[in-house]
Structures are given as structure tokens and as C-alpha cells.
Symmetry: C2
Subunit: 420 residues, 2 copies
């Protein structure tokens, strides 16, 4: 895709675009006067406009051919919008309760129109910083992950469907490449955009760049990320890609989607919950010591994995005589054997998730893109202490993950690091 037919929109030109686009007009109940349009893109890469009219609303997301938070000096294909739209539609089909509907996609314009997730929806990360409990979050996110991952894997798909879809998403290579760089490479070397809470973490960052065991393990994870087409993953499933209210959970922003290892999504999400946990001490004050909330996060972490595991296994059982080609019912034909392969599969997936989750935690502390959970802790020394605990846990988990048998063991480790 070149730049043919592409224009960068702004609040004004967007109005003209909407008026010229029947799908959008009808979404507004054909009432296109008196619109309010607001750019809200707080994300790192793209522009997001909220469009509200008297009889309807939507969100417009446009990708420009560079990374927004860096600028034109870091070019990035605007074709990412195509893969985001594809993934939103595919994941939306598989899990409509937790993915906003796509109303319109314009490939030359790299523009997606989707459901506006109205207030009180906020970005989950912000809720976690504010200390808000979401009682349905574990249920909803386990739903999302179990459905999107199971149904796009060879447990459900035929080889023919699988390879066709894998080939299509190979086109999203520039975004994969970005992940390779910022998650698996830059934190482990001197790199221009790396930063950390200096001087407090100078030694910690330095240690990571000289930790041979860590680098060896990271190489294995990177290979898996590059080579293993296990399922259609979101690719950027941190707590900033989830919008929530007390009873709604919506996953947005799958522009990094491709066929990769399931553990990358699960790990990204769990890892970001763990970062939220370690940030709490930095948000504690005399009114609220955050201990109860820390407990809630750990409970959510536990529930998310356990529910995910149960739901994934249930889907597998339900569809075990289906067209999925990984474990044919004619071979895995006794209850004992069926349980055996499932146990092995889930154990490997758990370890993958811990590995990728740890890599995602590390990169948020010593790499280019940090998280508001820590950034919002203004006292640098306090922030560094929180970050160091998270970093040390992540290093341990990444290296020793195969020794962890359950999420409870992970939680025990988190608690240890949290009190040292």
C-alpha cells in the first residue's frame, strides 16, 4: 500500500470524511450536523477521535505512517490499521462481548470506525492505578483469551484454514519487528531510546545487559515469537489495551496481531497486572495503604489464569471431535491420554506465559516504553524501589519459569519480592 488515497485527518477534515461516507452517516442516524469531535489518542502510535452526534456515535482510529509518540523519525507502516481491523473483526466474531464492533474500514486511509466505548469506560491501567476493583475482570479477560486463542489455533482449525490465515498475517511483519526490537532486543543492550529511573536503577539496567542466563532465555522466547504460529494473538495485550467499567470489559488496539505464541498474549496481560501490583506501594498514602487492593490484584491474577485454563480446556473438550487437526480423536482416544496431553499443553503454555510476561515486565522498566503505573509515582526513589521489585521478580520468573507448577507458586514469589 502506498500513500494513494491517503490523507491525514484532523477534527475538521474528519467531518467532511464522515459526511461522504454512508456507513458512518447511518451510524449517526443520518444526523451529521452538530457533531462533537475530540482527539483522545493517549496511546503511543495512532490518532483516535471520538465522534458524537445527536443520534449516534463512534470512534475513528487512523494510523499515520510513523509512530506518534516518537514522530516521523520512526516510520511505521500505516498498513497496521488493516491488520488491526482484521483482528478486531476476527476476535470480535469469536468473542463479541469483549471486542468493540467495527463499523467501517477504509484501507487506503488506514482508518477504522468502531463502537465508542462510552464513559464510564476507562482504560484498565488507569483503573488499576486509581485502585478500582473490577469484580468481573478475571471472568471477562479469561473469556477473551480462551476464545480468541482456542478458536484460532490448530485445536479448532484445520491445517488449511490455519496456514491461509497465518500467511495473511505474515503481512504485519513491521509490527512484529517492532516488538522484536523493543521487547526482546533493546532492553538487553545499549539502545538509543532505553530509559529507566536513574540513577537508582543504573546498576539494575546494567546487570540486565550482562546477564548471560537471562539473555539465553530471552533468545529462546524471541525465536518462539518469530517462528511459532500457534494462534492469532492480539500482540499488545497490556492493561492499556483494555477498557473497563464495573460490568464491561473491552479489548481494543490489536494492531500487532499475527499468528504467534499464545503465551505472548497471556503473559503480556498477566505481566501488566503484576506491574500494577508492584506499583501499588508507590500509590499508597495515609488514607489508603493499598494492601486490600494488592490482595485483589493477586486474586484477579490467580482467577484469570485458573479461569482461562478451565475455559480453554472446556472449549477443547467441547470441540474434541471437531475439525481441529492438532489432537485427532482417533489417536487421543482414551480419557487418560486426553487428560495427559491437555496437562502437558497447559503446562507448556503456562511456562510460555511466564516467560513472555516476564520479558514484557522487564522491557517496561528498562526499555523505551514505560507504564503509567510506575510513571505516575512522582517520588523517583520510591518508584525505583517498586520497579526494582518487579524487575527482580521478572528476572527470576524468566529464568526459572519451568520450575513453577501453578499460579499460586507465582503469587507466592510475587509476595516474597513485594516484602523485600
Amino acid at each position: 500500500m502506498g500513500t494513494q488515497g491517503f490523507r491525514t485527518l484532523n477534527e475538521e477534515s474528519l467531518i467532511e470524511y464522515i459526511k461522504a461516507t454512508p456507513a458512518l452517516c447511518s451510524q449517526l442516524g443520518d444526523q451529521v450536523e452538530g457533531l462533537t469531535i475530540k482527539e483522545v489518542g493517549d496511546g503511543n502510535l495512532n490518532f483516535v477521535y471520538i465522534v458524537v452526534g445527536p443520534n449516534g456515535s463512534f470512534v475513528i482510529k487512523q494510523a499515520l505512517p510513523y509512530i506518534r509518540c516518537i514522530g516521523e523519525s520512526w516510520p511505521m507502516t500505516k498498513e497496521r490499521a488493516y491488520f488491526e481491523a482484521l483482528a478486531l473483526k476476527e476476535h470480535g466474531r469469536l468473542c463479541p462481548n469483549h471486542v468493540p464492533e467495527v463499523y467501517h474500514f477504509d484501507r487506503p486511509m488506514s482508518l477504522i470506525a468502531m463502537r465508542y466505548l462510552k464513559p464510564p469506560h476507562i482504560i484498565l491501567r488507569k483503573g488499576l492505578i486509581a485502585g478500582v476493583e473490577y469484580p468481573l475482570l478475571a471472568d471477562h479477560m479469561s473469556d477473551y483469551m480462551a476464545n480468541t486463542l482456542f478458536f484460532t489455533s490448530l485445536l479448532f482449525r484445520s491445517t488449511l484454514e490455519h496456514k491461509r490465515s497465518v500467511a495473511e498475517f505474515c503481512g504485519n511483519v513491521e509490527l512484529c519487528r517492532l516488538t522484536e526490537q523493543v521487547v526482546f532486543s533493546d532492553p538487553y543492550r545499549d539502545a538509543q531510546y532505553n530509559r529507566w529511573t536513574s540513577p537508582y536503577l543504573d546498576n539494575d539496567a546494567e546487570e540486565i545487559r550482562h546477564d548471560d542466563t537471562l539473555k539465553l532465555e530471552v533468545a529462546g522466547l524471541k525465536s518462539m515469537f518469530c517462528e511459532r504460529a500457534q494462534a492469532l494473538i492480539h500482540g499488545d495485550l497490556h492493561t492499556g489495551s483494555v477498557m473497563v467499567t464495573t460490568d464491561s470489559t473491552q479489548v481494543i488496539d490489536p494492531e500487532f496481531a499475527f499468528y504467534g505464541p499464545m503465551g505472548f498474549d497471556i503473559g503480556a496481560y498477566l505481566g501488566n497486572l503484576i506491574l500494577a501490583f508492584f506499583a501499588q506501594d508507590g500509590h499508597a498514602d495515609q488514607v489508603n495503604d493499598r494492601e486490600k487492593y494488592k490482595h485483589w490484584i493477586l486474586t484477579t491474577l490467580r482467577e484469570t489464569w485458573n479461569l482461562f485454563e478451565n475455559k480453554f480446556i472446556s472449549l477443547w473438550n467441547k470441540h474434541q471431535d471437531g475439525k481441529g487437526e492438532a489432537y485427532l480423536a482417533s489417536i487421543y482416544n482414551t480419557t487418560k491420554l486426553h487428560l495427559l496431553v491437555q496437562k502437558k499443553y497447559m503446562k507448556d503454555l503456562f511456562h510460555d506465559a511466564l516467560g513472555f510476561g516476564s520479558a514484557k515486565m522487564i522491557r517496561r522498566i528498562v526499555g523505551v516504553a514505560h507504564v503509567e503505573d510506575f510513571e505516575s509515582i512522582t517520588d523517583a526513589s520510591k518508584r525505583a524501589q517498586c520497579e526494582r521489585r518487579a524487575l527482580n521478580l521478572a528476572k527470576l520468573l524468566l529464568k526459572e519459569r519451568r520450575g513453577f507448577d501453578s499460579i499460586d507458586q507465582v503469587i507466592a514469589s510475587i509476595q516474597e519480592f513485594s516484602s523485600c
Copy 2:
């Protein structure tokens, strides 16, 4: 691709085809009278014609839309010829000494013209059955595998090149699916075309269909085969896909090529050498007990792996500052760490090769397609004994492969099974 422009050729119509095709005429020195044309396809899938004229020669291979040895009842896309031609050209570029040159490819006709590997070239499997030593074989095959695998992996390629090529070869899905079925599925269940030396191996075949540990391991290998795009593999690298003389080694027939695990190629080749070894007792007679030849096969096995490992590592060292994105020199920046990651990589690859190699041995004994090494042993009881030894070794290797640290340990196990 439909059937547009496709005609099944035979000896007569091929002459007309050649006359109408300038690239082929010129290959014959423009002397297209007095051609001798002979169909020699002893393979399982396709038709192969040797075309010899007064001033030139070539081989024509045509894929029909079904599997030759089964018939029209087992349809198979003739587009496989496209991927065979692509792989021949790509592997030929990377290892010209051991891949026949492609002169002409006609996609609608599913037809490849390539260099005629003249006598005394014979199929390696036949040489192994006849007890012929090939002093350069280990050197040549290790060359072929090291070059084709290294240069198509992320050790040499950029992510951009890699994903583009992976996507293209996703198109060869029907052939992948065939492998999934005949290698990873059918031997482990009742299947129409399975056969074995009955009644001798009835229990052995039955045991395989009830061996939970084996089936668990096979599932892991199958997943790797389906999901892991590590390098452009040949996909069918048995000893029937290699033509040899004492000083030439040529790899043909990569119609199963796609981006898969390197261990699948290495294992296929080594596994077929091991089958050749176990067949020797069946070929022994009073003139030749084959002991010396068995020794040569084991030496060749050892040399093949060891040379492969050395050459692969050499290529890696030579290109470590290249565009390959798997192990960036800025991260893997000390000799110690570089050695550490290489050791880990080669160990994993060795275990993958043992796993896939074992699966390939098993399927040749209890699956649909058998090998001439055993089939040519006319005494069924003797044949069964040879096969059982190979089968038992393969089962052990497949299950316990991670406990093997070197090819010498594998050879020790082969020798144990060979004398029991």
C-alpha cells in the same frame, strides 16, 4: 490454480511440448529430432521423463492432480510442482553443488525441467541396499543441510525476508497436510492404508497405537511441524530423494518444501540412514555378512551430524554480524555468551532431529509408505526382525531423546538394538 492450460503429458505429447518450448529446445542444442524419452518415475507421487537428444538432455517432472502410487482416489494439488520448483531454485542458489539446476518451469502444466543426473547416478537408497560406500556422502549431505537450513533461517535472514517467504510457502499446505497425516497421525491409529509385516509385527503395530507416552511426544512433534517456521526445509529428505555417485551427491524432489523445523529434514535423513543400517542383516549372505558396511553406515551417520554441526556453526560465526535477526551481535556480545547460545541451539536441534527422525522411522514400518531397504528382504520373518529392531530403537529415541547428548550415544543405542 485450476486446470486451465493443463494437460497430462505422455512420451509422445512431451515431444510436441518440447518442440514448442524454446528454453527446452536450446537445452537440447536446438536438436529436437532423434530424442529418446523414458518415463522413470519410481517415486510415489509424480511422473518423471528422461529426455536425451544428440546434443543435450534433461529431466521433465510433471505433477498430476492426484498421488500416483494410490491413484485418482487420493487427490493432491498439482500446485506442488510450483513449490518444488521454488525450493529447487532457492536451495540450488544456496547449495549449487548438490541441487540439480532448474531449466524451465511451467506453472499451468505443473512441469519442471531440470538437469538430468546421468548414470552412474543412482538413488542413494538403492546404493545403500546394494552395500555401496560413498566416501563423500557425509561431507556433501552436511553441506546441503547446513547451507539450505542456515541461510533460510533467522540466523541469516531478516524478519522481513523471513515472513515474506514463510507466507509464500504457506501455500504448500496440502503437502504439509499429507505429511501430518502419514507421519504424525496414521501410524498411531487404525488407518486404511497402514500396513506392516504381518503377522510378525501385529503386536508391535498394536502397541504403538496404545503407547500413551509415544503419542504424547508425537503430538509435540506434530505441533512443531505445523507451527514452527524455522527454515525452508526440503520436507521429504529421505534417502530416496538423494541421487549419488562416488563423487556426486544431488538432492531432488523437494515438493514438500515449506518453512518448518530444521530437525524435520535432518531427522528424515539420519532416520533413513538408520533404517538402511537395520536392513543390512536382511541383505547379508554367505559372501558378505555386511558387518563392514554396517560400520560404514554408522560412521557416515556420525560424520553427517558432526560435520553438519561444525558447518552450521561456522556459517553462524561467519555471518554473526550480518542481517540475521535471531541473535544480534550487540546483545550476544561476548565469546562466552555466543558459545552458550550456540550450544543451546544445537542441542535443541539435535533433539528435534532425533524426535522427527524416529517418527519417520516408525511411519516407514507401520504406516502407508514403506522403504525398499526392508521391502527388498524377501524372507518376511527376517524382515520383521530387522524392522522390529529399528522400531524399538525409534520408540526409545523418540521418548528419551532429550537424554541423548551426542551422536555417539545414539550410535551406541543403535548397536545395542542391532544385537538383540
